[in-house]
């Protein structure tokens, strides 16, 4: 399964969500499908995309929030699973693309390739709904169910360690950040 195919399958559903991604391939691939003002790409601070999603979810309980995380980032901040599970915002969907690799820095294998089980860690952390998927069809179903459902969900998507040739885009970090906040404020005024 390719992360890009997963992103393409979920892309239409992202229109009415606030989306926070990790850096590198995930950000570049989502952006290549078409940037939207409700997408925020956290291009550093590995591990904190999920914490950002938690802050958004607790502050905007009526708004669906999707975090697009990765195994390397999540392994840098495993405590986030226990913090998310503690408050379990029902409007937060946490997708983890697990390619068993720190792809963006040259493809170094992560611990998930050596037996570390993020699905088990998420479940044992107390996340109320946890799924692992290996096909695009199952991925799409899991995302649709999570968006329609009313409980914090972590979806571990096992994907191949491939990505685009480059990660820098013409969207500046600050432009993205200010556009994202302005978009949210415009939603609140509606």
């Amino acid at each position: 399964m390719l992360r890009f195919d997963c992103l393409r399958a979920m892309y239409p559903e992202l229109e009415n969500c606030l989306v926070v991604t990790i850096m590198g391939a995930t950000a570049a691939e989502l952006q290549s499908l078409g940037h939207r003002p409700n997408f925020f790409y956290l291009q550093h601070a590995m591990g904190l995309a999920s914490s950002t999603g938690l802050g958004l979810a607790l502050s905007l309980p009526e708004q669906k929030i999707i975090v697009l995380d990765g195994d390397g980032s999540l392994l840098m901040n495993l405590g986030t699973l226990s913090t998310m599970a503690r408050y379990r915002p029902a409007n937060l969907v946490h997708v983890v693309f697990d390619n068993e690799s720190l792809l963006s820095v040259g493809g170094f294998p992560t611990a998930t390739g050596a037996g570390t089980d993020l699905e088990g860690i998420a479940r044992a952390s107390g996340v109320p709904k946890v799924l692992a998927v290996r096909t695009v069809e199952d991925f799409k179903t899991a995302v649709d169910d999570a968006l329609r459902g009313h409980q914090l969900t972590t979806i571990i998507a096992k994907v191949e360690a491939t990505g685009p040739s480059g990660y820098v885009t013409d969207l500046s970090l600050l432009e993205n950040r200010f556009q994202f906040r302005r978009h949210i404020q415009s939603l609140k005024r509606r």
Binding site: A45, L54, G55, N77, T80, R86, L174, R181, I184
Partner: protein, 170 residues
Amino acid sequence: MPVSSASSKAIFDALKKCDVRLMSALPETWLVHLIRMADDDPEMTLVRLAKEEEGVGVSAGAHFAGVKSAMLMQNHGFLASINAIVSFAHLYKIPLLMLISYRGTFGERDPWQTQGGNVTESLLRAMGVPYSFLDRADAVEKRIRQAQTLAESSLQPVALLLMRDLMWEE
């Protein structure tokens, strides 16, 4: 426990007056009353963290959502958050109101706190984080408001160091 309830209440009331509605925290002795007050207040969202750097992400999310937040941590928690402050809050110009209990300074009896006390201010200066001290209850409200004002106008992290003279009664 000789942590000052009156000073803790002055800090909490000042944060409420500044419209802070979300606080992230990782417990430490000087912060116990503040965390309890946040937990007891239905208007305040308290996020208990596993590690302090999560709080940078949580506060960034709150900022995007238009909610004012504050971070409660010990200075060792600040040390544990440095990458997040630099590579999220500074990189993306995120205002952070950090209330940091300043352990390991004059009067410190716990040997394990003393190294952190030596480096806290020099690291804040090296990172270019504006900071000031909270050492008197009668100055708390004004200084918290000033700190938040600067954080919001400059879109950057600012730190208030909670001092022993304010937080500890013995």
